[in-house]
Symmetry: C2
Subunit: 393 residues, 2 copies
């Protein structure tokens, strides 16, 4: 029996790309983990979540363990809408869908929009899991480079204009992480945001805005694309992974009602009542402004520590981005092969993620690497940079 004969035609792209199992290098013990895009362990509210579960099950008994979950799940939706409102995204209840993390949101949106022959656009570099999810649906992926001000919308315009002129298929949807991008830490400038939304109108594409890092700003908050969206072209994807705990898998989509209804068809039997109920109970008792402000100042401090250590230790030809929020700094080492360099780095006791993993064409990322300041402690960060400089220099 040949298994391959039975596969759906719709997963042809996935079968071509998907690796059988994990493909990221394992980080040896004892390394300073500048690779980890995890929240700082001290900022994950372990005790409060523990208390939330205890309180919830005391008060509600088995309810949160049933299919429907706690009545507090409704409060979670209200809470999320209130957070969005504060960020100038005004939506009705029927314009929100809670998902199992941002990844399920990306997967569901891809599912309702993308066929094997659908063209899509991603930033280059971009979030590796999103790229992986898109490759499950289509091979027709176009890229637009990112610089210190985010996606280069003039290049996007040129790409679209050329395709139109040459009568090539235009992309249906563009995926972007405009604020404190993963992996570069850069933020799309306000001029480019306007330009991007104009291009979406002109060339008739939709936008998936991944806002996972948006609340983690060090200075001023940044206006989301969704808050500027006049015509309902933007799907805003939110996540509590970076600001509460990733293992709880609470994310959401904000979009026009018709989109949400369709996403719901595919989501409805894939809910996760216990985690959502727990999150709702946790949030009910948290002082969110204080919680968030604590995260912001701690990550800002760690980011400064990383940037200072880089200034102090890195060879003169190495350059890096200057994030104004989020988790990441993006390094360029001219002439390097960061994938090969990784073994030396982990031997020296520091890990990072080689740039290639964030590129559709992996060879484009040879000279680059992602450093995360989120998980390691401040002293560790300094030591990690010193070790990394040692293997680069």
């Amino acid at each position: 029996m040949n298994v391959k004969n039975y596969f759906s035609q719709n997963i042809t792209s996935a079968l071509k790309h998907a690796p059988p199992g994990a493909w990221m290098p394992v980080v040896p013990d004892g390394c300073v983990r500048l690779s980890s895009g995890f929240p700082d362990a001290s900022l994950v509210p372990v005790n409060q979540i523990q208390q939330a579960v205890t309180r919830m099950l005391n008060e509600e008994q088995g309810l949160p363990l049933h299919y429907i979950g706690s009545p507090k799940i409704d409060q979670l939706q209200t809470w999320l809408r209130n957070r969005m409102y504060e960020r100038n995204i005004h939506i009705n209840p029927e314009e929100l869908l809670v998902t199992s993390g941002a990844c399920q949101a990306i997967d569901l949106i891809a599912r309702i929009l993308i066929d094997e022959d659908t063209f899509i656009i991603v930033e280059s570099p971009t979030y590796m899991e999103a790229l992986e999810i898109f490759q499950n649906y289509t091979d027709q992926i176009l890229t637009v480079p990112v610089d210190q001000d985010g996606m280069q919308t003039d290049q996007l315009e040129a790409l679209l204009a050329t395709r139109k002129e040459e009568d090539q298929p235009l992309p249906k949807v563009l995926y972007t992480i405009p604020t404190f991008q993963n992996p570069t830490g850069t933020t799309l400038s306000s001029e480019r945001r306007k330009h991007l939304l104009e291009l979406a109108e002109t060339f008739n594409f939709l936008i998936m805005e991944d806002g996972a890092y948006g609340e983690l700003h060090f200075d001023q908050p940044v206006n989301s694309l969704k808050s500027m969206d006049q015509s309902g072209r933007v799907f805003y994807i939110g996540s509590l992974s970076k600001v509460v705990a990733p293992g709880m898998r609470v994310g959401w989509v904000a979009a026009n009602k018709e989109w949400i209804e369709t996403l719901f068809c595919f989501k409805k039997d894939l809910d996760h009542p216990f985690a959502q109920s727990t999150m709702a109970t946790f949030l009910e008792n948290v002082d969110w402004p204080a919680h968030l402000s604590n995260l912001q100042s701690l990550y800002q401090s760690k980011c400064s520590t990383l940037l200072n250590a880089l200034s102090e230790h890195m060879p003169a030809n190495v350059t890096w981005t200057q994030p104004k929020g989020g988790y990441f700094v993006w390094l360029t080492i001219p002439g390097a092969d960061t994938a090969t360099l990784l073994e030396k780095a982990t031997d020296a006791g520091v890990s990072y993620i080689p740039g290639k993993y964030f590129y559709l064409q992996q060879e484009d990322g040879l000279e680059q690497l992602r450093l995360s300041f989120s998980a390691a402690g401040e002293e560790e960060i300094v030591e990690g940079v010193r070790r990394l400089a040692g293997v680069i220099g």
Copy 2:
């Protein structure tokens, strides 16, 4: 902007069928809920799960709240394999995928197998959520009727032979709940199990075996199709929803390695570490044989109560199935329209699920209804049957 213009071709079937929002009638307060396919509230281990979370977070701090989750997730996989081994399903670690409930398992398998033009077979009647998931993928759904010994495999054979003779497309996959079926409570006889597996060879189709109720036998355990599968045609779908708690969303697929690897491509970013870690920690400390035996005897007792009450109160022309396990009894009321009758029933203080929801052609289920003995207490069950008899009689 017309939203419909943007939808993927692959969701044509879903858009045709999927209802925007919930479609099941809401059960008024005060009703005896013979509609609910939930576990008995007293059998959901609320305190033990509460303790598991407390212990887990004390011991492991933030680990279960991170992307990767507790190291105990590996133990969960071993635990599930051991449970399967006891039921004569011998699988290696790479032949198991833990999913977010049986529904995600069904959805993932559908995703790798089913195109818009793929023919599939389901039992008639069948599990409504499975039907809904399949309709998200294809319209080409064939049905085979169920009698007191489960799916009528002679009718399946006739259907397949006719299609072959007439050169019509043959189905690629058959979905069955062979043991204590939802909704009928019936079990596929051992002769029919053999016949079904022979037909799968002859007509070259795959089998999705939904084993959600398999462990809840009142007398002898029933051999699963998977335990008899010689050629790797059977996907076994398991679930802890009926035997621990549905809100935890822990299910799994057991199948050959190549299938599991492909399912994993679509699953990998959709994991749920907190719930899985909690389940693993709970199971570590539970006396499973005692737990299961307690469930079995309680559900057996409730089933007897329901059957006795039916014998005592139902009019002579009403018939029902005699389940040997699971949650459900299936009633036939000649000449009735159980969908219309429901309002009278809930007015009288009892709820059930009208038969039509379990049928591809809803009109086939007019005379039938599903009663669940799982959620209501024994006295409630008797009272519920009395009320139901009052509106039928």
